[in-house]
């Protein structure tokens, strides 16, 4: 983890259209030792150099320009396989029908406990390495 920082990026990218989340979550992650950056939409993330650095995404499901699942499939289309932790404010999420998306199983319901988010991020980064 520390031997070759560049080869094992642990940048955590937060993508959410809500400002409260964009501010609070990166600060929590930073306090816990992660490098974190926030984007207000999937499109700005795709256009940024951080696209190649991201080790894990914390991704809101419902966003106006591009939904979380839409960003996920776009990333897959471009050959980026970045582990994703979904977060959502909808109790019964109305996600576009996508058989590959395994739904709210890996989805944290807002408001989520800080530890639950950290555990999910740890699992995501581990899955990336394994």
């Amino acid at each position: 983890m520390t031997s070759t920082p560049r080869a094992q990026p642990h940048l955590v990218v937060v993508i959410d259209d809500d400002e409260s989340v964009r501010e609070a979550v990166p600060r929590l992650l930073a306090h816990c030792g992660y490098e974190a950056r926030a984007f207000a939409s999937g499109l700005t993330f795709l256009a940024s150099p951080d696209l190649n650095e991201a080790g894990c995404l914390i991704l809101d499901v419902a966003m106006p320009d591009m939904t979380g699942p839409a960003l996920q499939s776009e990333l897959e289309r471009r050959g980026h396989s970045i582990p994703i932790v979904y977060i959502t404010g909808h109790a019964s999420t109305s996600i576009p029908h996508d058989p590959d998306w395994d739904g709210p199983k890996h989805c944290l319901l807002k408001p989520f406990a800080d530890q639950a988010l950290l555990d999910a991020v740890t699992r995501a980064l581990t899955s990336r390495r394994s």
Binding site: A24, R27, L28, C32, I87, K110, P111
Partner: protein, 690 residues
């Protein structure tokens, strides 16, 4: 009176040695002055004088006629009758008349009326008889003709089959004009051909050859007569030059027919319907008498043919009507009240499922009336039979197979001058329409419910999402704050920042709640005086279809002298409707016990007005009582639970309370509101100026 010149008869009577000559002279003279055939006989009925008219008529001179010889003048069939009549006069001494056919000298037979009159002696006994003959042939002919016409017209009136009527007509014509053979042809439905209708005495080979010929001048006398609308007379077919192309004359002559007169038969409006033809086996020209007969027979034939076509048209329209009744499921009826009589159309019998052969009575109708409506129906019949007002009502039948029919009945009362009442009415089977209405009503209710749920669902989802965002920020910041505080050297700036953000996000969440509140009171609640009972009655009218199709009975026990409340009438009615719909839904699953709810209202000493809705549904778990009014709590699989939350919000905004209680037989929701006189507070302007 002039004394006639001496005549041979007198001379001949003089030759009778039994006679006193001056008396014979007197008798002869008396007989001779009678202006028609006459004779005289002695007291024993033996003829001893005849006049010249007699001799000329019968060809029987005095010698042949005297004694009983005059009987020979009678037609052989009438001879015996004549003898009996004459002997009866002599025996009884009474005068009398007798109709008898006499054979004329030229062989023709005519009818005469014989009047027998006795001459009485001083003792009043007949000393001599006089007989006078009046020619009644023409009168008899006219009478026979009249009787025949009457018979024909009766046949027309009683709708005998047309061929039978026309056949009778031909026979009557043949009787009226001896020696003739009659036929009738009609114009076929296509208007271009003639068809054989009647010809009782003509050879079938002839009529068959005529049948179906095209109408026109060459077709023969009948085709020509119908074509030209003119009488066509052919007095001698052997010398006839017309109709050569069609060989009609050859055909007629082959059947021994030598003369034919064909006359068009016209309708009352003058339209040609066919032709009446008279044939003779000898050459013949129509006399005035013939023309008279022809005129009368074609007239009657016209009436018969028109009547038959009217009859057919009537039958067609009757069957059309019956078909229309069958198709529209509408029957008709006539109800005569006194003397009681009910007449039904075929379709009415079909609707009631009763045998058309059985006379209708109210007892019979009663076997079909829905038991729930039997008393009502009896009362309706009773009122109608006394008052005679027009009727329009719906009622139900229960058929023998248990199925239920809905009927719509309309009846118009006809009042006769003598005070009798008759109802003429129609009864329509509206079962399908009622079923469709019920289905439609159910669909509408479901749609309303779905759209209500959809709106509330979308609204609540949106609320949940909006609130969850700042909450996520708050929870995350608070978690971070705790973590910083747990550090060995807490970064105070960071904790401050986290705390500030928590406060900011909490305000954001609070803004969402404010917006939600604003949404519920979006239309600024109006403030008016509301009678809760009136408001409830109006809502009941709105939910009536819902009650009907769910089979729910909603009883009311509304308080009297209830003080009004002040508030938004529409909002309060929304609450009441919500409570009623909840009650209906709660009882939706009940089987085997009545779906009955009761609405009560009243007011208490504290001047609070209350209204409760008590259902007989499954009730709810008392442990959930507090949560019933939570925004998203529901015990119903399809419900969102928002209804009660909104209801409580509305009631509380009116300064009231909405509470729920459960008991063994269901749930009760009670709202209470302050009576208006407690509001406005004394320091505000009195009501009416607000």
């Amino acid at each position: 009176m002039d004394v006639p010149a001496p005549n041979p008869h007198a001379v001949e009577t003089d030759a009778n040695p039994d006679r006193v000559s001056d008396r014979d002279d007197q008798v002869d003279r008396t007989v001779e002055v009678i202006p028609g055939p006459a004779l005289s006989a002695d007291e024993r009925g033996r003829v001893d004088a005849v006049n010249q008219h007699w001799s000329q008529l019968t060809g029987l001179g005095p010698e042949a006629a005297f004694g009983h010889g005059w009987y020979d003048a009678a037609h052989q069939d009438d001879d015996e009758r004549l003898r009996e009549f004459w002997q009866a006069r002599v025996r009884s001494g009474e005068p009398g008349t007798c109709e008898v056919r006499l054979r004329r000298g030229d062989g023709h037979v005519r009818r005469y009326l014989l009047r027998a009159v006795p001459q009485l002696d001083r003792d009043g006994r007949p000393s001599r008889w006089f007989g006078q003959f009046d020619d009644v042939e023409e009168r008899r002919q006219a009478e026979l003709l009249l009787a025949g016409e009457k018979q024909l017209l009766e046949m027309v009136a009683s709708a005998h089959p047309l061929p039978e009527i026309l056949d009778t007509l031909c026979r009557l014509a043949e009787e009226s004009a001896p020696g003739c053979l009659c036929s009738i042809v009609l114009i076929a439905a296509d208007g271009h051909h003639i068809e054989h209708a009647a010809a009782p005495s003509l050879p079938v080979t002839f009529t068959a050859a005529i049948d179906g010929r095209a109408i026109g001048e060459d077709c023969g006398p009948c085709g020509m007569a119908t074509h030209l609308n003119l009488q066509i007379v052919a007095t001698d077919l052997a010398r006839e030059t017309r109709w050569q192309d069609s060989q009609w004359c050859t055909l007629a002559l082959r059947h021994d027919l030598r003369a034919c007169w064909s006359t068009p038969i016209r309708s009352s409006a003058g339209r040609v319907l066919g032709a009446f033809a008279i044939y003779f086996t000898e050459p013949a020209a129509p006399s005035q008498v013939h023309q008279g007969l022809i005129g009368r027979f074609t007239h009657i034939a016209g009436i018969a043919i028109e009547g038959a076509s009217r009859e057919a048209a009537l039958r067609r329209s009757e069957s059309f009507l019956a078909e229309a009744q069958r198709l529209s499921l509408t029957g008709s009826f006539l109800w005569r009240i006194n003397p009681p009589q009910i007449l039904w159309s075929e379709q009415t019998y079909r609707i009631y499922g009763l045998d058309p052969a059985v006379p209708v009575t109210f007892e019979l109708v009663g076997t079909r009336i829905h038991p729930d409506e039997a008393a009502w129906f009896a009362a309706l019949v009773d009122t109608a039979s006394r008052q005679g007002d027009d009727l329009e009502f719906e009622h139900r039948l229960v058929m023998p197979d248990g199925s239920v029919k809905f009927l719509h009945v309309v009846a118009h009362a006809l009042h006769s001058e003598t005070g009798h009442i008759e109802y003429l009415g129609a009864v329509q089977d509206v079962t399908e329409r009622r079923r469709a209405d019920a289905v439609l009503g159910r669909l509408r209710a479901e749609l309303t419910h779905v759209s209500r749920m959809t709106t509330l669902g979308a609204l609540s989802a949106s609320i949940a999402h909006e609130v969850s965002q700042p909450l996520a920020g708050i929870v995350t910041n608070a978690g971070l704050l705790l973590r910083i505080l747990g550090d060995e050297v807490p970064d105070l700036d960071s904790t401050r920042e986290s705390a500030q953000r928590i406060i900011r996000d909490a305000h954001r969440a609070s803004e969402v709640v404010d917006r939600l509140r604003a949404l519920f009171r979006r239309a600024a609640p109006s403030s008016e005086t509301v009678d809760l009972n009136d408001a409830t009655t109006e809502v009941l009218a709105i939910v009536a279809p819902e009650l009907q199709h769910t089979g729910t009975t909603m009883r009311t026990d509304l308080g009297v002298d209830m003080p009004p409340v002040r508030g938004d009438r529409v909002q309060l009615q929304q609450v009441i409707m919500n409570l009623l719909l909840n009650a209906i839904e709660a009882m939706g699953t009940l089987e085997g016990r009545p779906r009955a709810a009761i609405i009560r209202s009243g007011h208490d000493a504290a001047r609070r007005v209350w209204l409760s809705v008590e259902d007989s549904g499954p009730g709810f778990d008392p442990a959930h009582a507090d949560r019933l009014f939570n925004t998203f709590f529901t015990t119903k699989p399809g419900g969102m639970g928002v209804g009660l939350y909104v209801s409580r919000t509305i009631i509380e905004s009116h300064g009231g309370r909405l509470t729920a209680s459960t008991h063994s037989g269901g749930a009760t929701f009670t709202l209470s509101l302050p009576a208006e006189s407690n509001h406005p507070p004394p320091n505000l302007p009195p009501k009416g100026q607000a």
